[in-house]
Symmetry: C2
Subunit: 278 residues, 2 copies
């Protein structure tokens, strides 16, 4: 039987460390790499970032918005990237921030979490504005297909606080109630759970103890957004390092376009993270 | 100069009434139409729903999740639907519920709101979990390209309340703060504004007066989800009918697969809405 996503991710982090390389082919980034803002530039950048990550990073995280800019042709490039990453045994977190009512979320589960789907990834990021329990079909599919979810609980940008820190009652904020429910879902797993959490390195510790979530954390905000590996270590003290996936995007891609420089940047971030998160 | 989205939408609603036909090619729906759950079934259903809506409905609303199930091939079908709808002068609301940090939202704005993009629609639905002001790049692009946004403020499903009705302070909930900000954005428009609101017909009136939003409303929840045209009339009393777009999906598609039955269902819903919302 296939290992669950939690087990596969933890194994990968124990072997390679917690680095997740963000693949963000924005117009600005393709221009910085002196490529056209077109399908050919998109493909070149994406495959180069995958290549630079192989054997050094636990996962890559393509930002789907930047592929979607090119419509179906952009999704064909994303499919190529997903397929190449699978062949290279690099875990993929599709950063799509999908989220809708339950019946619609079944559609997203079919798209991103179902074997044989052209967009099948190891894990998908989702947003909970339409409710917590609307994510149940995604959780069910992820568990059945040994894939994972990362629910955005606290994003790395400050503007997120207005919704994420709104009060549910005297004691709990939206982020706390989400963490509670995710911890419940993860009780179904003996090992590191199926339902992960996006929690920005730039944020404060929530009231709910992050060590009780029992799922993996995807941590944005490190590098260009201002947080350091030391911030991550402080925020997640008490959480096993083997459940942390720390994303770095622009601070790595910014070393390009020379492939050796990009790979050096990946190795440097891997080492910095290993020092801060032993 | 091209009319703004608000003006175009209001004209269409004044001519054809407030009906928006949801195009939801879920597996269940394609099976009910005795079609394969494949690209050919997807295309047949989508184009049939467009055909049934022509001249009777103000807009169609394809649910993007159900196209995304098929990866790039599904997006090719969506591009065909968008292109055919443009030719038929049917307004399109792409129901994608996109939403991320600001820089990523620029990618979604390029995808859905920029002329020449294969996925360019008249309007896009977005979710605000990552913050209200992260939507600014989408608002700016929509205003510049005479397209629109519909921000999910209050969804039709009950599970949405936990986040949407969380308290910001003693007086305001998340939904109120969103409506305030949207009303501010719409002050830039002389006429019906660029930034619309998704507000479920199944919900209660918020504290913020809906009549002060000055943007269009996209109203889900009517039909299979239990609300009636009369619920819509009560919830939006004080709001001009010409700014209401009332979505009906399964209750129309359920009349198929016979094309005449589907078109009859569209006409019946148009008439029912016209009676309740004169």
């Amino acid at each position: 039987m296939t290992d669950t996503f939690g087990v596969r991710l933890r194994d990968r982090i124990q072997t390679l460390g917690p680095l997740c390389v963000g693949v963000d082919p924005s117009r600005r980034q393709l221009t910085l790499w002196e490529r056209g803002d077109d399908i050919s530039g998109l493909e070149f950048f994406s495959l180069a970032m995958l290549e630079a990550s192989m054997g050094l990073a636990a996962a890559i995280k393509p930002q789907v918005a930047y592929f979607e800019r090119f419509g179906s042709a952009g999704f064909r490039v994303l499919e190529r990237l997903l397929s190449d990453a699978r062949d290279a045994r690099v875990l993929i977190v599709a950063d799509a921030k999908r989220g809708d009512i339950g019946s619609t979320n079944e559609g997203y589960a079919e798209a991103w979490l179902t074997p044989g789907s052209p967009l099948a990834a190891d894990a998908l990021t989702v947003t909970p504005y339409l409710g917590i329990d609307t994510m149940a079909p995604l959780v069910t599919t992820a568990a059945a297909t040994a894939r994972g979810l990362f629910v955005v609980v606290a994003s790395s940008n400050d503007e997120g606080r207005v919704v994420q820190e709104a009060r549910i009652d005297d004691e709990r904020r939206v982020e706390d109630v989400l963490l509670e429910r995710i911890a419940e879902w993860n009780r179904a797993d003996e090992d590191l759970g199926t339902v992960g959490v996006v929690f920005g390195a730039t944020r404060d510790r929530p009231r709910f103890d992050l060590a009780h979530v029992n799922g993996p954390f995807l941590v944005p905000g490190v590098g260009e957004q201002g947080a350091t590996p030391e911030h991550v270590a402080r925020l997640f003290s008490g959480v096993p390092t083997s459940s942390l996936l720390v994303n770095v995007s622009r601070a790595i891609a910014g070393a390009g376009p020379d492939p050796r420089s990009v790979r050096d940047a990946v190795a440097r971030w891997r080492d910095d993270l290993a020092r801060a998160l032993p």
